[in-house]
Symmetry: C2
Subunit: 343 residues, 2 copies
DNA sequence: GTGAAAGCGCTAACAC
DNA sequence: GTGTTAGCGCTTTCAC
């Protein structure tokens, strides 16, 4: 049997082959094989005979043909900026699981934060008759919405919101407020009574996510330590080198001391800050309460404590699917609360 | 124009629509639109008119229909154990780039190191008429080979070898030997002259990759520090908790000292070791030269030096494609040398 | 230079 | 209960 269907040329078995072998019509075979025989009242014996033969022949339906016929593909897509990243990796993992749970076949593509690549990829997906698509961290979500709308394909923005489709993002303001509170909570009594400040490093203030975080930071700081001075905020870039320089400068400005607290915006900025912290004594670092808005397990291996904020990839994806399945595709923005992780 | 093709129902434009609009036959439109008009000698004017109309209508070919007709799909697949992992993330990233460079559309699926899931996924891919597939870290590569062979689909094993298809894996013996040499290189002169040993922690000795690494470790150790005693090797599990316990036990056994060198097999085992190391003084840790067979950038943030081994995802994928494209699909095993990273 | 027609493998009326 | 038939949208001989 293996010989029959071995090597390249060996045409894959079709329902016609099966129907010939069994002596039933292709439509009967089709009905049995795709479960639609609930409606047709096929004789159990016929059915089991067909199933048996299909099994024996190693039959599997040609999904392209089926898709063409029913004009659906069973595919659902997601784009992410890149795969080499903890968060997006978690997103892919959750996306796959949820898509499969719905009987859809998930296909994920990375688009490197390049709008052109995003468009190319989405067009490609549409050409494969994809049934729905998630845009995670898209740089130009609205352009993609236009594309999908034209093809009548449902879609949802994730992590970064758009204005032409429903979006589900992390609640950055809430997360930043909680993180700031937690940082204050880790400051000593003495520091809290003295004039103590937390400094904010990293990110780009013009980006929505950073500005939301700054808002949350300000609110909690105001509440626990008093008003925030603009000099406490240094959100000019995500670059680790710049973050390193920022930390160093801050240290000098404070006369060779760390601030009472540090709010680092993203693991990537944190990398830079860590490079600077490595040059200090442990005792000195311990007097600064450190938080990072983003999560990576490496923090658990550091020799000083850190509080991190972890986005809920599971909930983001779950909500994205829920929005996808709603009748009304209005461009609302849903916010998911992240969680604090203490190391 | 947007109104024309808006919302769900709006049938996507086909070559028939185009042919009607222009007054040319579907076959002419098809030829122009898929580039096969080099053979047919179509009038440039007709061609440009068709192109213009297609553009205006936002036409894009139905890839399912094309695939059905030419019985190819333009899809190439890869399975990986999971996405939430540095190495596999890098593999996906490289796979995508290389697949696109070849005009193929990459689809990646995670199978969670579950043989059943691996089979399900590969069957699914075959049903979509996938043109080739890479098995990365598959737990039962040979079963997948059988599946693909039956369908006449080319495939290559990556990272973990199989016996029924070409494989490309990291050169674990070579890497372990280099890592061991590097660890010895970081030991002090005094240690090297004294009776000093390196201990190997983590992994499962029965697995091919671990046993290869042990072989490399033994060879370099033999050469630089003398023969390895079996008590220096503790490769019973990848579990971080077990690795932590191993490190602790070793420390006690050595009378409250770390060995001169530590070879930790995998980042996951390293996590456990780190948990133990955190309980020690920095001075003490500094007297032990530490290497980890695997790579994660978090090592750069530790307050003591570590040598890591990084697998070359780029080369693994490049070679996998090369093997895929060779006429002869013999079950050879190609080894790619990893690189050492010093922190 | 271009058109007509067949058919990839499947499904879904509609027959009987 | 099962068979016949007409396409899904595309490519590709083969005619002219």
């Amino acid at each position: 049997m293996e010989a029959e269907m071995s090597e390249g040329g060996g045409r894959k078995t079709t329902i016609y082959d099966l129907s010939r072998v069994i002596g039933a019509s292709p439509s009967t075979v089709s009905a049995v094989l795709n479960g639609s025989w609930a409606r047709r009242r096929i004789k159990p014996e016929t059915a089991s005979e067909i199933l048996k033969a299909a099994e024996a022949a190693g039959y599997s339906a040609n999904l392209q043909a089926r898709g063409l016929r029913v004009s659906r593909s069973g595919l659902i897509g997601m784009i992410v900026p890149l795969h080499e990243n903890r968060f997006f990796g978690a997103m892919s993992q959750n996306f796959e699981a949820q898509a499969r749970a719905r009987g859809l076949y998930p296909i994920t593509a990375s688009t490197l934060r390049d709008p052109t690549e995003e468009e190319r990829t989405v067009r490609q997906m549409l050409a494969y008759n994809i049934e729905a698509v998630l845009f995670t961290g898209a740089t130009d979500p609205d352009a993609l919405s236009t594309l999908c709308r034209a093809a009548g394909v449902r879609h949802v923005n994730v992590d970064l919101p758009g204005t032409k489709a429903p979006s589900v993002i992390s609640d950055n303001t809430w997360g930043a407020e909680r993180l700031t509170e937690a940082i204050i909570g880790r400051m000593s009594q003495a520091q809290r009574r003295a004039v103590a400040h937390i400094h904010f490093i990293g990110g780009v203030a013009a980006d929505r996510s950073t500005s939301d975080r700054i808002a949350g930071f300000r609110r909690a700081h105001q509440h626990g330590l008093g008003a925030v001075d603009d000099s406490q905020i240094d959100a000019a870039s995500y670059d680790p080198d710049i973050a390193e320089a920022s930390a160093r400068t801050l240290y000098r400005k404070l006369g060779g001391h760390l601030p009472a607290g540090l709010f680092v915006n993203s693991t990537i900025a944190f990398e830079g800050v860590l490079r600077f912290l490595k040059t200090l004594e442990l005792g000195e670092i311990s007097r600064c309460a450190i938080g990072c808005y983003d999560w990576d397990p490496f923090a658990s291996f550091l020799h000083f404590p850190v509080i991190m904020v972890r986005q809920r990839a599971d909930q983001l994806i779950a909500e994205a699917f829920r929005l996808l399945e709603m009748e009304q595709q209005s461009p609302q923005v849903l916010q998911i609360r992240p969680e604090l992780v203490f190391y």
